[in-house]
Every structure is written in structure tokens, then in C-alpha cells.
């Protein structure tokens, strides 16, 4: 964490102004860090407590007898709506939806960036401008039109199944969510890759052309292997966004077997019967947050590097 350097001023005695500045700056940083970490701390601590301890003890106190029971219950037994089989099924629902959505949107973004920088055509700036515009469309405004489109696709899927015996995934809520997230993410992934490839030396593409490589061979052998930083950035960005999405998930897969993690978590917490099991709720929320946390830890060091890449030539 860097600190804003303040010009040192001469002081006439006692503690120098510089030291005071340091104390103020670090004091503020510590305060804000505390502010940020407090909820996480409460969540973690609570998730390892028994219900008795929660009801009778201090919220900030460490667990007297740490127990994994709430985690196991959240994973395998807690009630989501009316079914009581834990959140594990919904966790896998999210994985099944997020992984294809992230990979497809990232690869398509890379392909778009490649075409928009290295195979320029008439009106390429307009196309890029429109794709950029997609980044600014609010979720809410596409909600209903998208529902109509997904409905039509679903009906087409039924027709296909009647005709061929196979619906090709049309109408499947997981496929629907993948489709929505790919379409919505395309603007961002294209923006990331276009800006990265803009600074990518065009002579490499020309050299590969002279060497006889085709459009896709150049993409696969030259562009992609040299796109690691921006690839990681895009994957982290897309993974976090899609995993955390609640609006699309609840609108298009809010009920039924394909319900993603975020919606399930909401249903766990919003139960209206019996005692509110804070420890189980906290454990479920932690489980829901873990994958994004994991992605940051594993790939995070590329994140800053990737965002900076291309900013400076060389």
C-alpha cells in the first residue's frame, strides 16, 4: 500500500510535522482497514460458534468452543426455500454456469480485440464504439427484453426437441444464464483485449502472415500465448461479476433446480420459519464468497500487472 508523500516541513521543535503527518495517515489507514475487516471478522467468528453462544455472548468475542457444525450444515443440510439439502447443489449450479460463461466471453473478447486491431475493416471504430456502449447499458433496462428473447429461445427449443428429440440446450436456465452473461460481458472483454492488442506489435502479425499462418493460427499461436496478463485480468473480472450477479440469476433462474449460489444464499437467509441460524447463514455466505476470493489469491498478482500492461510502451 503506497502512501501519499507529503512535503517535509521544518519544525521548530518537538515532534516534526512530518511525523505528525505520518501518524495521521497511518491512523486513518488503520481505521479504514478496521472498518473493512470488522464485518468479515464477525462473519468468520460467528460461523464457528454454536447458537447458544451467539444468543448469550458478545458478537466480537472469539468462539469458546469452535465448531465446524454450521459449515457442514450450510453445505449439506440447511433449507433453501422448501428443500433442505444444503447449498452444495447451488454451489455446483454456479460453477457450471460461471466457468463456461467466463471462458466463452473471454475468448470472444480476445477474438474481437484481435479483429478490431489487426484485421481492421471499414467502420471498425463504429463497431468498437457500439461495443463500448454495451458496457454502459444498465442491467435493469435489458431485464424484460432479455426475458422475452429467452422465452422465444425456450419455445424454439421445445420445437427443436419435438422435431429432433434434442433441444440443444435452448430453454435450459443454466444455458440461458451463460448466454446472458456472455452477451453482457462481451463489451467489457472486448474493451480489455482491444486496448491490450492496440499496443501489440503489428509486425508480429505481418511476420506470421509471411510465414504462412492463417487467421486462426495467428490468433492461437501468436496472439493468445502473448496475452497472459490481460487474459488473467479479464478472467478475474468476469468471474467476480458473473459469480456475484444476483439480478439476472434471480430473474432467469430464480426458482427451480438451476438456481445459482447467490439466489440460494438469499433464500437461506430470508427464511421466515423458525429461529434465524446466524452461524449457518454466515458459513453459507463465506462459502458463497470463497471462489472469488480464491481467484484473486491465485491470479491476483497478475491483476495489477495486467491493468498496467500497455499503459507504457515496451
Amino acid at each position: 500500500m503506497s502512501v501519499i508523500a507529503t512535503p517535509a516541513r521544518q519544525s521548530t521543535g518537538g515532534i516534526s510535522a512530518r511525523t505528525v503527518n505520518r501518524i495521521v495517515i497511518y491512523g486513518l489507514l488503520a481505521l479504514f482497514a478496521l472498518f473493512y475487516l470488522m464485518p468479515l471478522f464477525v462473519m468468520l467468528v460467528t460461523s464457528f460458534k454454536t447458537m447458544d453462544e451467539i444468543q448469550n455472548g458478545n458478537m466480537l468475542a472469539l468462539p469458546q468452543a469452535p465448531t465446524f457444525e454450521p459449515w457442514l450444515k450450510a453445505w449439506g443440510e440447511t433449507c433453501v426455500g422448501l428443500t433442505c439439502a444444503g447449498i452444495k447443489g447451488y454451489f455446483w449450479n454456479s460453477i457450471k454456469m460461471v466457468v463456461p460463461a467466463v471462458l466463452i466471453s473471454t475468448l470472444l473478447g480476445a477474438l474481437n480485440g484481435y479483429v478490431l486491431t489487426k484485421w481492421r475493416f471499414r467502420g471498425h471504430t463504429l463497431v468498437f464504439g457500439l461495443m463500448l456502449f454495451a458496457c454502459f447499458i444498465p442491467f435493469q433496462s435489458v431485464l424484460l427484453p432479455m426475458a422475452t428473447i429467452l422465452g422465444s429461445l425456450g419455445r424454439f427449443g421445445v420445437t427443436l426437441r419435438n422435431a429432433t428429440g434434442f433441444s440443444f440446450g435452448l430453454g435450459n436456465p443454466t444455458v440461458n444464464l451463460v448466454f446472458v452473461h456472455v452477451v453482457y460481458g462481451l463489451g467489457f472483454t472486448t474493451l480489455f483485449f482491444r486496448n491490450y492488442y492496440e499496443a501489440f506489435p503489428t509486425e508480429l502479425v505481418k511476420a506470421a502472415q509471411v510465414d504462412g499462418a492463417s487467421f486462426f493460427q495467428i490468433f492461437r499461436r501468436i496472439m493468445l500465448p502473448n496475452s497472459m496478463p490481460i487474459f488473467v485480468v479479464t478472467v478475474i473480472y468476469q468471474f467476480t461479476n458473473i459469480w456475484n450477479d444476483f439480478l439476472f440469476a434471480s430473474a432467469y433462474a430464480g426458482t427451480g433446480d438451476a438456481m445459482p449460489m447467490t439466489v440460494a444464499l438469499n433464500n437461506v437467509v430470508n427464511t421466515s420459519t423458525g429461529v434465524v441460524e446466524y452461524n449457518v447463514n454466515m458459513a453459507a455466505a463465506m462459502i458463497a464468497a470463497l471462489p472469488t476470493l480464491l481467484v484473486y489469491v491465485v491470479a491476483g498478482r497478475y491483476f495489477v500487472r495486467g491493468l498496467m500492461a500497455g499503459a507504457v510502451k515496451g
Binding site: 509486425e203 508480429l204 505481418k206 511476420a207 506470421a208 509471411v210 499461436r221
Partner: protein, 371 residues
């Protein structure tokens, strides 16, 4: 029939004409250098030969085959780029073999070709390294290796030495010349450096604003420039181009050079070009290279037409191998090239010998040579 023929080549970007009818040809085993200031279209011309740019009009033929509309990989060419364009994710060996891999050459054959090229360029010990682990000169070699391994009909070099430091540039220049001599390949080479052009080429095309100003051997370009631009561009230090008038009468013409606060110099011309008589009493541009303007002892012995005149020396620049003296004639600074040990002081007058056999004359209105 020439090996490389370019006929009436035009290239337009929208309404802007980048190449305005290029006609150039090159014999087999020749070394053609396209030289000119930046923005003259020389790199675009090279890219059209490579097939990386389309052409609007005209024809490009290599070894009797029209290649206008062929894909770059089908033209049997190899190209060395200014930035070397080595694939950063592949080893040196991978870089060299990439083209063969794309054409489906079997692995064993590829290895053989890599070894052969590595031996020629002495890069055998670098084969397993990545481009980022190489120095500038080594990258240059690998880039040439990637071109050499294809054994193409035509090599294209796009300012290959401009990223190297001065000393390495001279070394690599010699290396390229040696490579050309030993392999006998046909090369088209783009540069903005007129020394590279002079030293490497068998043919030079001097370009400006999308047009070939002059096309010929280095000696022709240097000694018989067709216009002011070529005269000024080729040669270092540049040719002295002095505003002058033609005096004298009938068969005995002379060049009259104005001087500050002194009477003009009149240099008698023994065998003036025939076109010059039309310019009697009219302004012309008198062109004389620094080495044709020297101290009388250092003047060329067997030149038939040498005239000597006293000149006021303003600046003396000892360069080690030569001494350059700057005087003022016709309102312009004029550089003379003297022997290194010439005893000459700034601020004094000294006789300088004009080798008029080597002098050239230009029409100031059209900028063309007067013949």
C-alpha cells in the same frame, strides 16, 4: 527479362495517393535499396511487394510470375522487419521453424534446416533461448535466420539496422553485404540512411512523395544526380548547392559565384554541358561535392578541369581523417574537404581548387539537372 519487375505501381489510401506510378526492376542476385526521407512511400512499396498491402494499379512480377494478388505466404519471399518481429513466446529455433511448421514440413527436415542456418549465422548456441534473452545484434541475426531458412526467391529488408547502435550497425551492414555475396540472393532493402544505400546496393531507387526520383547504380546516383533532391539527399556531408549565374561568352562559359563584400569568383568551364548555354546570364544552381572542392595540393591529379580561387574560410572542422573547411559562396555555407594535415586557419583567405569535371548544374525553376 529482369528477375523483379515493378510496372506502373500505384497505391491509394482513400483519396491519398501514396505511390504514384513506380517502375523499378532488378536482376537476379541484385541488391536494390529503396531510399528516401520518412513518408516517401518506400516502406509501403516494400509491403506491396510482400503482399502485406494491396495495390491499386500496376503489376509486380518475380521471376516472370505475376504476384499481385497472391497471399504473402505464396509469393516465395521472406521479410526481415524493423523491429525484428520475433515471436516472444517461442524459442529461437521455434521462431526460425515457424514458417516451415505452417507449411507442414516434417520435424526432422525442419531440424536440419535450422542447424544449417544456425551454422551460417553462428547462432547455434542461442537456439533454445527466448527472444527476450537476446541482445539487439543477436535478435537481428535470428530475424535474418528466419528469412534465410525459407530459401526464398526474394528477400525483403525493412530498415533492419535502424534499431541498432552505431557501431553494431556498421558490423551488421558488413555482415549483410557478406551474406549477399556468399548466398547470391536477390534483396530489396528499405532504408532512410543514404550511407547504407551507397554501401550495400547494386541498384538504388531514390524516392520522394511516392515517386522514384532516380533509379540507377550507386555511382550513377552519386555522380550524376538527375535533380536537386537526389543531389542533396545522397552523400555525407551533403553536396554544396550554390546559387550562381552563367557568365563568359560563346564557347567559353564560366560560373559566377557571388561573395560577401568581395568581387565575385568566376570559374571558367572547359567542357560545359550543352544545355548550359541557354542559361547565359541567368541564375542556376551550381553543385559541387565537398571532395571536389579541396586544397590545390590535394586536388585530383588527372582531372581535366580544375579552377582555383581564393576563399575566405569561416570555420575549420578537423574530423581526423579529413579536415572540413566552411566558406561562404553565393550566400550559402559551402563545405570543402581538405587533407587532414592541411594547414588552414579560420578567418584567413586560402586558395581552394574546384574540380569542375565533377560539378553539376541545376535549373532553379524545375530543379532538374542541366545536361
Amino acid at each position: 527479362m529482369a528477375f523483379l519487375e515493378i510496372n506502373g505501381l500505384r497505391k491509394q489510401f482513400g483519396s491519398v495517393e501514396i505511390l504514384k506510378g513506380i517502375d523499378v526492376d532488378l536482376e537476379k542476385g541484385g541488391f536494390l535499396v529503396l531510399v528516401g526521407p520518412s513518408g516517401c512511400g518506400k516502406s509501403t512499396l516494400l509491403n506491396t511487394i510482400a503482399g502485406l498491402e494491396t495495390i491499386t494499379e500496376g503489376e509486380i512480377r518475380v521471376d516472370g510470375r505475376t504476384i499481385n494478388d497472391l497471399h504473402p505466404s505464396k509469393r516465395d519471399i521472406a521479410m526481415v522487419f524493423q523491429s525484428y518481429a520475433l515471436y516472444p513466446n517461442m524459442t529461437v529455433a521455434g521462431n526460425i521453424a515457424f514458417g516451415m511448421e505452417m507449411r507442414g514440413v516434417p520435424a526432422a527436415e525442419r531440424q536440419k534446416a535450422i542447424d544449417k542456418v544456425a551454422k551460417v549465422l553462428q547462432i547455434g548456441h542461442l537456439l533454445q533461448r527466448k527472444p527476450s534473452q537476446l541482445s539487439g545484434g543477436q535478435r537481428q541475426r535470428v530475424a535474418m535466420g528466419r528469412a534465410l531458412v525459407r530459401d526464398p526467391k526474394l528477400f525483403l529488408f525493412d530498415e533492419p539496422l535502424s534499431n541498432l547502435d552505431a557501431k553494431l550497425r556498421v558490423d551488421m551492414r558488413i555482415e549483410i553485404k557478406r551474406l549477399h555475396a556468399t548466398t547470391g540472393t536477390t534483396i530489396v532493402y528499405v532504408t532512410h540512411d543514404q550511407i547504407e544505400a551507397m554501401t550495400l546496393a547494386t541498384k538504388i531507387a531514390v524516392m520522394r512523395d511516392g515517386e522514384v526520383q532516380q533509379f540507377g547504380t550507386p555511382a550513377e546516383i552519386y555522380n550524376n544526380p538527375t535533380n536537386l533532391f537526389v543531389a542533396d539527399f545522397m552523400g555525407s556531408p551533403a553536396m554544396n548547392l550554390i546559387p550562381a549565374t552563367i557568365g563568359g561568352n560563346g564557347n567559353a562559359l564560366s560560373v559566377v559565384l557571388q561573395r560577401e563584400a568581395r568581387e565575385p569568383i568566376s570559374l571558367p568551364l572547359a567542357d560545359a554541358p550543352t544545355g548550359l548555354s541557354a542559361f547565359h546570364d541567368k541564375p542556376i544552381i551550381f553543385g559541387v561535392r565537398p571532395e571536389a572542392l579541396t586544397d590545390p595540393e590535394g586536388a585530383e591529379r588527372n582531372a581535366s578541369n580544375i579552377a582555383t580561387a581564393d576563399c575566405h574560410i569561416e570555420v575549420v572542422e578537423p574530423a581526423g581523417s579529413d579536415t572540413f573547411a566552411v566558406t561562404n559562396l553565393g550566400g550559402k555555407a559551402v563545405v570543402a574537404r581538405l587533407r587532414a594535415d592541411a594547414n588552414i586557419q579560420p578567418g584567413t583567405s586560402t586558395p581552394l581548387a574546384f574540380n569542375l569535371t565533377k560539378a553539376v548544374f541545376f535549373d532553379p525553376a524545375t530543379e532538374n539537372r542541366i545536361l
